[in-house]
């Protein structure tokens, strides 16, 4: 039962990185384009999905708290600076996107757009750092607490943060290629194609630094699975490149979605059966089973939430279906 909940936690966090990822990617790309109309068009391409995207994060943390309380406390407190950065980013983006068009003046909008750009970078950096921090293990002591936060300040964590920024930028550009009116999709598609090598370089750099780090090598419990998932990630990026070149934005977007979901699977599967691997005391490592809530709690959560899961996903799917297709002058504009 723990495995099912761990998979569900992974599903929701990966779903957040995929869906929130293009929010942040589009937010990041606002920095490139100063034309107010095109900025607004980009944000309204995200439009109806925006509110439904970031709730995947809230749901993931809800599952983390309800089903893995022990992991929740140590994970968030143990990665304090990274979570702080990511959380600040999430708050800035959610406020910036929703409020930027409420003031009538163009100057205020420019300021809000800067808020969105900064927030998008922070969110991607922060979540990248959290995933990397998991992969390199934490100073978890026998008393069950993670000591200090200096373990986060390593080249691998920094490189993984930057790699997620690059992935998110590519994902956002691909989303816009798929969603903007056909006339505007060309330039942004070429941008997306140029971002693929950037993302590949960033992922490559993080991989090299990870392989050089003794902590990462020791922490990996299933190195083969890790390598396999990493090669899938590289394949997804190459597929995206090929699809963008052949003007198949749908395929390219599916590929970048996979590229955003795979890091979560990578962190979860490589460390299995552990949730947190200790770098100081192998006996203190926290297994997924130990991190999980006790059986009555998991059973209760199962009874209450699992029957509703189809409804949750169904209403999200309804949103994607209702607002499918490219945006055009007939679409409501609000952000």
């Amino acid at each position: 039962m723990e495995l099912a909940w761990y998979a569900l936690l992974g599903l929701f966090f990966a779903g957040y990185l995929v869906l929130g990822g293009y929010d942040y990617g589009v937010g990041l790309l606002l920095a490139r384009d100063t034309d107010p109309a095109r900025r607004r068009a980009a944000l309204n391409a995200v439009g109806p999905f925006f509110l439904g995207n970031e709730v995947w994060l809230v749901a993931a943390v809800g599952i983390l708290f309800g089903a893995f309380p022990l992991l929740e406390g140590e994970l968030l407190a143990g990665f304090y600076p990274a979570v702080l950065g990511a959380l600040t980013g999430v708050v800035l983006v959610t406020a910036g996107v929703q409020l930027r068009s409420r003031p009538a003046g163009q100057r205020a909008r420019v300021w809000w757009d800067r808020v969105v750009v900064v927030g998008s970078v922070l969110a991607a950096l922060g979540w990248g750092a959290v995933l990397a921090g998991l992969l390199q293990g934490v100073p978890l002591h026998a008393d069950g607490h993670v000591a200090g936060v200096s373990h986060l300040f390593t080249p691998f964590v920094a490189a993984a943060g930057l790699a997620l920024v690059a992935l998110v930028a590519l994902h956002g550009a691909t989303f816009l290629t798929l969603r903007l009116p056909a006339a505007d999709a060309g330039p942004v598609g070429r941008l997306a194609a140029r971002l693929v090598p950037v993302a590949l370089t960033a992922v490559g750099a993080a991989t090299v630094l990870g392989l050089l780090s003794a902590d990462v090598r020791t922490a990996a419990q299933q190195p083969l699975v890790g390598v396999l998932l990493l090669s899938l990630l590289v394949t997804a990026l190459l597929v995206a490149r090929a699809a963008l070149a052949r003007r198949r934005p749908g395929v390219a977007f599916a590929a970048t979605c996979a590229a955003l979901a795979l890091p979560v699977a990578l962190a979860g599967a490589t460390l299995w059966p552990y949730a947190l691997v200790s770098t100081v005391d192998p006996g203190a490592s926290l297994t997924v089973a130990d991190a999980a809530a006790s059986t009555p709690t998991l059973r209760l959560l199962g009874w209450v939430t699992l029957p509703l899961l189809p409804a949750l996903l169904g209403f999200q799917a309804m949103c994607w279906w209702v607002f499918r297709g490219r945006t055009d002058g007939r679409a409501p504009v609000y952000w």
Partner: protein
């Protein structure tokens, strides 16, 4: 510097800002459901315009509810990892249920509602708003289940120092839960009603155009808040019975407090088991405000022949009274939460065991950072709300006709 004090200050700041916005969210969405349902049934344009005007204010207000809510959710793990370690098996469940079955759907529905104008059929569009409202109430329900458990832990047993769930129905039967939920929900209706009445009064005093629309807003708002304050007072006073039964140390001298403190001293060692006086003082002021707002009933007869508008003084009173329910809401929460001290979970987990073992400097930077960030966002949000309220119902961005009329209601899918 004391990590515990900093963590408590951060929780107090975030929660207070959060509640100032969610109380409006919960109140306004109820009135919006009324307005949009009335539009669908009567087809009167005034209801459509009111839905757009008040919907716009609702959506602006909603932003800060989410932003502060996300920070609060993370704060449990960041600052209070002991809470998840020792009581997470029980306390985590209602929070997890809230995020999955309530908030997740609420935001999904709201996104579709905002962008669904002129695109969805009117019945479907209204159903989405009903969905938003129902899930908002479900949110309040589960959050209050979780909070009430901290006030009065039930339905668990402690094995190896960790609480395990034994009886979930006890959480729903918690004496600190139902009456408190009624109190919070009717307080939200009071705030929503008073906001609608005060903004309408502002327009009526300045004789802006749209007399009919703002007159209707004034009437709906005043009647809602007058009915709500009656229940707010009732649920408020009814709570004293439950509190005196299960939380005797909460408000001053209860004869049951002394034996309980003696028991705690035996179990947890000597310490100060009485909450700070702040809880009591806040409670006194809140009750005073509650009685003052009870006078809203005196304004109801003036609705006859619009005397309330002709006399003008009542319109000014409604505007000046608007801060009162917000102040009362914060004081009420201070009474409930500070009155729980020194416990994270009453009689089970002291706050000093619940706080995360992080360095005080990290906690201080998080406190300062998030207080400044959320404070600045809150002020900006209120300025925007005031500007949009003052602009009136001419042409809110919410529900505006797209540039081109929809020629083809089923556009080509992009995946083709």
């Amino acid at each position: 510097m004391d990590t515990l004090l900093l963590a408590r200050l951060q929780f107090a700041t975030t929660t207070s800002i959060h509640f100032l916005f969610v109380v409006v969210t919960l109140g306004l969405v109820t009135l919006l459901v009324y307005l949009q349902t009335a539009w669908l049934i009567t087809n009167k344009p005034v209801y459509e315009r009111m839905t757009r005007f008040w919907g716009q204010l609702y959506v602006i207000n909603y932003v800060l509810g989410i932003a502060t809510g996300i920070v609060m959710e993370f704060q449990f793990g960041l600052n209070w990892s002991g809470l998840s370690r020792y009581v997470g098996n029980v306390f985590g469940a209602p929070l997890a249920i809230e995020t999955l079955v309530a908030f997740f759907l609420e935001s999904t529905f709201l996104g579709m509602w905002i962008f669904g104008w002129h695109r969805l059929r009117r019945g479907v569009h209204l159903a989405l708003l009903w969905g938003v409202a129902i899930t908002a109430y479900a949110s309040a329900f589960w959050i209050m289940v979780a909070n009430s458990w901290l006030q009065n832990p039930v339905g668990y047993e402690v094995r190896d120092g960790v609480a395990h769930l034994t009886d979930f129905s006890a959480l729903l039967d918690n004496p600190t839960f139902r009456v408190a939920l009624g109190h919070v929900v009717t307080a939200a209706l009071l705030v929503g009603g008073m906001l609608m009445a005060a903004v309408s009064a502002w327009h009526l005093v300045r004789r802006t155009d749209d007399f009919t629309l703002h007159r209707k807003g004034l009437r709906i708002g005043l009647i809602t808040s007058a009915v709500a304050i009656f229940f707010v007072q009732g649920f408020g006073f009814a709570q004293f019975f439950a509190i005196s039964d299960v939380q005797p140390t909460k408000f001053g001298d209860d004869p049951a407090a002394a034996p309980l403190i003696a028991e705690w001293t035996a179990r947890f060692g000597p310490g100060d088991y009485t909450p700070p006086a702040l809880a009591d003082v806040g409670l006194g002021f809140m009750i005073l405000i509650g009685f003052t707002l009870g006078l809203l009933w005196l304004l109801l007869p003036l609705l006859w022949r619009d005397w309330i508008i002709r006399l003008r003084v009542p319109l000014w009173i409604l505007q000046f009274a608007l801060p009162l329910p917000f102040v009362a809401a914060i004081l009420g929460w201070i009474a409930r939460e500070v009155g729980r001290q020194p416990w994270a979970a009453y009689g089970l987990l002291p706050v000093d065991q619940a706080v995360s073992p992080v360095s005080p400097w990290l906690m201080l930077s998080s406190l300062i950072g998030f207080s400044l960030l959320l404070g600045a966002l809150a002020v900006t949000n209120w300025v925007l709300l005031a500007q949009h309220a003052a602009r009136g119902a001419h042409d809110p961005a919410l529900g505006r006709q797209p540039d081109q009329p929809p020629a083809d209601p089923h556009p080509e899918p992009a995946f083709a």
